[in-house]
Point group: C2
Chain length 110, copies 2
């Protein structure tokens, strides 16, 4: 799972790739469509797509001449699950845990 997170976070660290995911949130798209908003070469986009796919964030389809991409939510869910463990540090709705933690931390910290 750690390896997965490595790949996922690493894929998400690039703004072009996040923008691509944003586009795919509206539905599947061809490589050309995904490339359109950017001033990057087509191979550069293909490379980004490969990174996203290897991280499990998207999938490739096949449709006539083109290979449309779709979002693969599971990978994002993995991230959400990871970050959920930290939610208590900022979210009011985790008050009881928060109280508990501030006691524990207060003990350790002072």
């Amino acid at each position: 799972m750690d390896d997965k997170l490595d790949a996922i976070f690493s894929a998400l660290a690039d703004p072009t790739r996040r923008a691509i995911l944003g586009r795919l949130a509206n539905g599947k798209a061809t490589v050309a469509e995904l490339a359109d908003p950017f001033e990057l070469s087509q191979p550069a986009i293909s490379k980004h797509l490969k990174v996203l796919e290897q991280a499990g964030l998207i999938r490739s389809g096949r449709e006539a001449n083109s290979r449309p991409r779709v979002l693969e939510p599971a990978a994002l869910k993995t991230v959400a699950a990871w970050i959920a463990d930290y939610r208590r540090f900022w979210d009011q709705s985790f008050d009881r845990l928060d109280d508990y933690l501030s006691k524990v931390q207060g003990y350790e910290n002072d």
Copy 2:
């Protein structure tokens, strides 16, 4: 905000750094304490800490001889906020949005 996400995701892409955050979730810790679980040199850990700090994920304190680190939840909250936009793709509790989206996507996809 995009720049922030770049730095944050990039920082989170390394398992050592995620482990450090995990340790800091139990309360503040010195560099030596943070380095202890790893078979890495002290400078390597300092480098990781610098990356985490520049991403805003941790802060440095000062206490006698040592510079203890603490978690900085805001940066993680930023990630949670980003990913929340995708929550509808996997979470049942977002059913209405999900329905809406599947209609929209169905339209675009078929």
